[in-house]
C-alpha cells in the first residue's frame, strides 16, 4: 500500500512542526448552554482559514524568530472537546474511550490523580473545555491582543472564557526544575528524512505502521477528522523547592552507602537526564554539559538498569531499545510550554508546565504511558528484586521507591506522599484539519449511513451477544 503524502497545508502547524515560540497564550472556552452549540459551531468553522497549518509554520519560521515588533506574526491553534463533536457532528465518532470519556472522568482511575476535578484551574466538572485557542508568538502583546479579539468574537456566540494562561519558554529550553525539555520527539515518516514512526500515530488518515491501512475514525463519512489529531492538555503545577529539598535530603540519607553522592546527581537519575539533556548514569557524577546531538542513545546495553535506573522518568516513558513489556512503544508529539515565573524570581508564585501532546489514540498512547508505565512499580521493566517507580511524575498511593545501582550496591530512593508535580487541570481534545473544521457549520445528512450504524450499534448493545 503506497503511503499518502502528508497534507501540510491542512494539518495544524503545532501538531507536526511545533510552534516553538517564546509565548503561547492558552484560552479555554465553554459553551454556555445547550442551544448555543450550533452557533458556536458556525463560529468555529469561520476560523478554519485562520488556523495555522504546518506549511505556514515552516514558511514563516524564519520571520517569526525576528518578529518582535507590535506587528509581529501570531499563529493560531484550535481544538474542540467531545461535547462539541457529539452534539453537533453526530456522523463522526472518535473511537477512543479516553477522548469520549473525558479527562476529568478518567483522571482518578487512569492517571492516578488525587486532585478534585471540581477545583481544576482548567477543564474539570464545572468548566468543560469545549474550545481551546492557543495564540503563539514571539511577541507576548501581539498574542494577547489577538487572543482578546477572538475571545470577544466567541463570546457573541455563547462561548465563555473559562481559562486563560500565558505559557513562556524559559531560557535554555528548560522546565522549572532546570532540565532541558522536549528533547526526545518521535521522527515522522514522510515528514522528515528517515522518519521512523508512521504519521498515523499522530494524525488521522495515515498509516501507523508501514503496510497498514490508514488509521481514521469510523464512521466519518464527511471526513471531518481527516488530518486531525487528538490532544492532551494537562496543567501540571511544579513545586521546585520541594523537589530540591527532597533530593538534598535523600543525598544526605544515602551518603553512608553512596559516599559523595550529590543532590544534583540524584535529581538527574530521577529524570534520566542531566539539566543539559545529556543521559544520566550512576557512573558519571557530573553533567557533561551537552546532550547527544541526535538524541540517539539506547538502553539495550543496560539491561539490568545498572547505569540508568528503570524508574528514571525518561526510561519509564521510552525504554528505547531496552527491556520492556510492550512490543510497540507508544509515542507522543509533545508541545508543552512552562507557565509561571522561575522560582528564583518569584519564590511564592505558581509555576509549572502546560503539557501538550498529540496522538491518534489517547487511550493507547498518553493514558497507556501514564497508567501502565509512569504509575507502575515494575513496568515497562524492572528487576525482580528492585523498585521502579517514576518518582518524578508517577502517581501512586502510598510510598514509592526507585532502586539505583550505587557504587557500593543497590540503594533505594523513596518518597511518601510528597508531590512536587500536581495536576491542576486539563482536557482531552480534538484538533481538526483546516478542511475538517470548515465542515463544522454544515449539518450531517439526516439519512446517512452513520445513522444506520448507530441504530445497529444500539441494537447490538441491547442484545450483548458476547456476554457470558
Amino acid at each position: 500500500m503506497s503511503e499518502r503524502p502528508l497534507e501540510l497545508d491542512d494539518i495544524q502547524g503545532n501538531i507536526l512542526a511545533g510552534f516553538n515560540t517564546n509565548v503561547q497564550v492558552f484560552h479555554a472556552l465553554t459553551v454556555v448552554s445547550a442551544d448555543a452549540f450550533p452557533e458556536a459551531c458556525r463560529w468555529l468553522a469561520e476560523q478554519a482559514g485562520a488556523i495555522t497549518t504546518v506549511a505556514e509554520v515552516r514558511a514563516a519560521r524564519g520571520s517569526m524568530k525576528q518578529g518582535l515588533s507590535e506587528a509581529a506574526p501570531t499563529w493560531l491553534f484550535l481544538a474542540v472537546g467531545s461535547r462539541v463533536l457529539s452534539r453537533t457532528q453526530p456522523d463522526l465518532r472518535i473511537r477512543d474511550d479516553a477522548f469520549n470519556g473525558g479527562m476529568e472522568n478518567r483522571a482518578p482511575g487512569v492517571l492516578g490523580d488525587k486532585t478534585d476535578p471540581a477545583h481544576w484551574a482548567v477543564g474539570g466538572t464545572s468548566n468543560p473545555v469545549d474550545v481551546l485557542l492557543v495564540l503563539a508568538s514571539n511577541n507576548e502583546a501581539a498574542a494577547v491582543a489577538r487572543g482578546e479579539l477572538l475571545v470577544a468574537s466567541a463570546g457573541k456566540v455563547g462561548l465563555r472564557l473559562s481559562y486563560r494562561e500565558v505559557g513562556r519558554r524559559l531560557p535554555g529550553e528548560i522546565e522549572h526544575f532546570g532540565f532541558r525539555d522536549g528533547l526526545s520527539q518521535p521522527s515522522i515518516a514522510g515528514f522528515e528524512a528517515g522518519g521512523e514512526h508512521g504519521a498515523g500515530n499522530f494524525v488521522f488518515g495515515y498509516q501507523r505502521s508501514k503496510g497498514e491501512a490508514p488509521y481514521a475514525p469510523s464512521p466519518d463519512e464527511r471526513q471531518i477528522a481527516d488530518n486531525g489529531s487528538l490532544l492532551v492538555l494537562r496543567r501540571l503545577r511544579q513545586d521546585v523547592a520541594a523537589f530540591q529539598r527532597f533530593c538534598a535530603a535523600e543525598a544526605q540519607r544515602l551518603s553512608a552507602r553512596w559516599p559523595g553522592v550529590r543532590p544534583g546527581h540524584l535529581a538527574a537519575l530521577l529524570v534520566g537526564r542531566w539539566p543539559s539533556g545529556a543521559p544520566a548514569t550512576t557512573r558519571d557524577a557530573d553533567d557533561p554539559g551537552a546532550s547527544p546531538a541526535d538524541n540517539q542513545f539506547h538502553f539495550d546495553t543496560d539491561p539490568d538498569g545498572a547505569a540508568c535506573p528503570f524508574g528514571a522518568h525518561i526510561r519509564k516513558v521510552n525504554p528505547r531499545k531496552g527491556p520492556r513489556d510492550k512490543v510497540n512503544v507508544p509515542r507522543l508529539l509533545r508541545r508543552g510550554i512552562p507557565f509561571g515565573r522561575p522560582a528564583a524570581q518569584d519564590p511564592a508564585g505558581e509555576r509549572g508546565l502546560l503539557f501538550v501532546a498529540f496522538q491518534t489514540s489517547i487511550k493507547e498512547q498518553f493514558e497507556f504511558l501514564s497508567e501502565h508505565w509512569m504509575n507502575s512499580d515494575d513496568r515497562p521493566a524492572s528487576t525482580t528484586h528492585g523498585h521502579a517507580h517514576d518518582l518524578l511524575v508517577g502517581s501512586n498511593d502510598g510510598a514509592k521507591s526507585m532502586t539505583i545501582a550505587g557504587p557500593q550496591g543497590a540503594v533505594e530512593v523513596s518518597r511518601a506522599e510528597q508531590e512536587w508535580i500536581v495536576p491542576t487541570g486539563g482536557a482531552y481534545l480534538f484538533a481538526p484539519g483546516r478542511r475538517g473544521l470548515a465542515k463544522f457549520s454544515k449539518p450531517a445528512s439526516k439519512l446517512g449511513l452513520w445513522r444506520v450504524k448507530k441504530v445497529w450499534a444500539i441494537a447490538l448493545d441491547t442484545v450483548k451477544p458476547g456476554r457470558r
Binding site: 465518532r93 473511537r95 474511550d97 470519556g101 472522568n105 482518578p108 482511575g109 497498514e212 469510523s218
Partner: protein, 462 residues
C-alpha cells in the same frame, strides 16, 4: 543425570503421583533440546542421536535441568510481565463489526469476548467418524490469560474469574486422574451434575482444513480441552489453542539460540516481531510471544545459560489496582476482594497466581458492575482484563566461556497483511508485503530445508 524435579505449576498438588507431571515436563524439555541440536547440526529432529545431544548440549543456552545440574549461584528472574488484554485485538481496532458504543468506542471489549474457532486455521472440527463438531472457545484471548464473568438476573457482573492455566496441564492430569479433573470442574463451574465423559472427546477431535488435510487435535478418549463447560459457565483453564504450557516451553527453547540473517549478520533481537518471525516460536501479533522470545534471546546475547524456572508455569503477575475504584471513582477496591484460588503471591513481584477471582463481599451491597474503571461502570469484563498482566520465570547463570553459543539461520520470516503479520517462507500473498526482508533466502523446494523446519510432535494436546 541431575537431581531436578519439575513441580506442578504454582506447586499445586493435583497429581496423586507428582512423578507423572515431572515425566511430562521432562519430555517437553528433551524435545526442545533435540530441536535445538537439530538446528545446530542441520538435521531432521528425528535423526538426532543421543550422541549428538551429548556433544552439543553443553553449548546451548537452553539447559535441560534433569541432565545438566543448575549451578548453585543461578538466579531466578521474572520475564517482564505483559498485558493480559490481547494485542491482536487492539491491532484490529476500530472494529467495523462492533460499531462504537458509549462504553466501547473501539469495539475491543466486545471483540475480545468472541467465541469461535479463529485459533485454528480455516476448516472444521470433526470426529473420527467425520461428524462435524462445533467447539468454540475464547479464540481471541491469546495472551495466556482468559476470563469469564458471572452475571445476575439483571445482567450485572457479580464475579470475574481470570485464569492462566494451560489446558495441557489438565489434559495430562486427566490421563492420570480423571476424577480429580472432574472435581476441579465441578468446583469452578458450579455444575455438580458433570460427569467425566462430559470432559472427554470419545471419538477424538480432528481439524479438517479447507484443502482437505486432516490434523489430529485430540486422540479418541482423551480430555477435550475445548469442552463447552469450560466456556459456559466456565472457567477452569485456558482454551485458546496457543495458550498452552507446551507453547511456553517451545518458545523459551527456540529463542535460546543465536540467529543470523541471510547476510550472516547476527540478529540483535531489538525488533521482537522480527525475532519471532525468524525463529517461528509463536504469534508475532501478540504481546506475549514476541516479548518472551525477545527476553529469552537477550539471555543468549548476554552470555547466559538458562532454563524455565521450576515450577514452570504462566502466572498472573499482578493487577494494576489503582485502575479499579469504588463507585465514588476515588477509592481503590480493597485487595481482599481479589482472591487467588490457584497459586499464590499475587501482590509480590514473584506472583505465581494461576486463578484469580474478583467478588464483592455480600455485606457491601454492590456488584462489580457498580465499580469504576476509567471512570465508567464495569459493563465488559475486558475492562478489568486490561488491568492484569502475566509473566513467567527463568533461572539463569553466566556461561563459563565468553561465548553466546551456536548461531543458526532463521527458519522463517513474516508477511504483513494490513496490520497483521503471518509466518512465511519468504513468499507473500498477493497484495501483502514481506515484513522483514533478509531473514531467509528465496523460497526453496520443501525437501531442501526439511531438516531445519521440521519440529518434533508436541506430546501434549496441541
Amino acid at each position: 543425570m541431575a537431581a531436578w524435579t519439575f513441580h506442578a505449576p504454582g506447586n499445586l498438588q493435583d497429581f496423586r503421583d507428582p512423578k507423572n507431571w515431572h515425566a511430562a515436563m521432562t519430555s517437553e524439555t528433551r524435545d526442545i533440546v533435540t530441536l535445538l541440536v537439530a538446528s545446530v547440526l542441520q538435521k531432521n529432529p528425528d535423526d538426532v542421536t543421543a550422541a549428538d545431544i551429548d556433544k552439543e548440549r553443553g553449548n546451548l543456552a537452553y539447559v535441560d535441568p534433569t541432565v545438566d545440574a543448575v549451578p548453585a549461584g543461578a538466579e531466578t528472574v521474572a520475564i517482564q510481565p505483559w498485558s493480559g488484554f490481547p494485542r491482536a485485538v487492539e491491532r484490529r481496532a476500530p472494529w467495523a463489526e462492533y460499531p462504537p458504543t458509549a462504553d466501547d468506542a473501539s469495539g475491543n471489549f466486545r471483540a475480545v469476548e468472541h467465541l469461535g474457532e479463529e485459533d485454528f486455521r480455516e476448516g472444521v472440527f470433526v470426529d473420527r467418524d467425520d461428524n462435524m463438531l462445533h467447539l468454540p472457545v475464547r479464540d481471541r484471548q491469546d495472551e495466556y490469560l482468559e476470563w469469564a464473568a458471572r452475571r445476575d438476573g439483571q445482567g450485572r457482573i457479580i464475579k470475574l474469574i481470570f485464569v492462566a492455566e494451560g489446558y495441557d496441564y489438565f489434559a495430562t492430569l486427566f490421563r492420570e486422574d480423571e476424577q480429580r479433573v472432574l472435581e476441579l470442574y465441578k468446583e469452578f463451574t458450579g455444575v455438580s451434575t458433570l460427569k467425566v465423559d462430559d470432559l472427554r472427546a470419545p471419538k477424538g477431535i480432528y481439524r479438517r482444513l479447507r484443502n482437505g488435510t486432516l490434523r489430529e487435535v485430540v486422540k479418541p478418549g482423551d480430555f477435550n480441552p475445548r469442552n463447552r463447560h469450560n466456556i459456559n459457565p466456565g472457567i477452569v483453564h485456558l482454551s485458546q489453542r496457543a495458550n498452552s504450557l507446551s507453547a511456553e516451553v517451545n518458545l523459551a527453547g527456540v529463542s535460546a539460540i543465536g540467529r543470523k540473517k541471510v547476510s550472516g549478520a547476527l540478529l540483535d533481537g531489538q525488533d521482537a516481531e522480527e525475532l519471532l518471525c525468524c525463529n517461528e516460536g509463536g504469534d508475532p501479533n501478540r504481546n506475549s510471544d514476541p516479548l518472551i522470545s525477545q527476553q529469552a534471546y537477550a539471555q543468549v546475547l548476554g552470555k547466559y545459560r538458562y532454563t524455565l524456572a521450576d515450577p514452570i508455569g504462566l502466572y498472573i503477575a499482578g493487577v494494576a489496582e489503582a485502575g479499579l475504584l469504588l463507585p465514588d471513582n476515588r477509592t481503590r477496591v480493597p485487595r481482599e476482594w481479589w482472591r487467588a484460588t490457584r497459586g499464590s503471591g499475587l501482590w509480590s513481584s514473584t506472583s505465581r497466581v494461576l486463578r484469580l477471582e474478583l467478588e464483592v463481599p455480600a455485606a457491601e451491597k454492590l456488584t462489580i458492575s457498580d465499580l469504576r474503571v476509567a471512570g465508567n461502570p464495569v459493563t465488559h469484563s475486558g475492562q478489568l482484563a486490561e488491568l492484569l498482566s502475566v509473566h513467567l520465570f527463568v533461572t539463569r547463570w553466566k556461561r563459563s566461556q565468553d561465548s553466546i553459543g551456536p548461531v543458526v539461520a532463521c527458519t522463517g520470516t513474516c508477511c504483513r497483511r494490513g496490520n497483521q503479520l503471518y509466518g512465511s517462507d519468504g513468499t507473500c500473498g498477493q497484495g501483502d508485503q514481506l515484513a522483514f526482508p533478509g531473514l531467509v533466502g528465496a523460497p526453496q523446494p520443501a525437501a531442501s530445508n526439511a531438516g531445519m523446519a521440521k519440529k518434533p510432535a508436541r506430546l501434549m494436546t496441541r
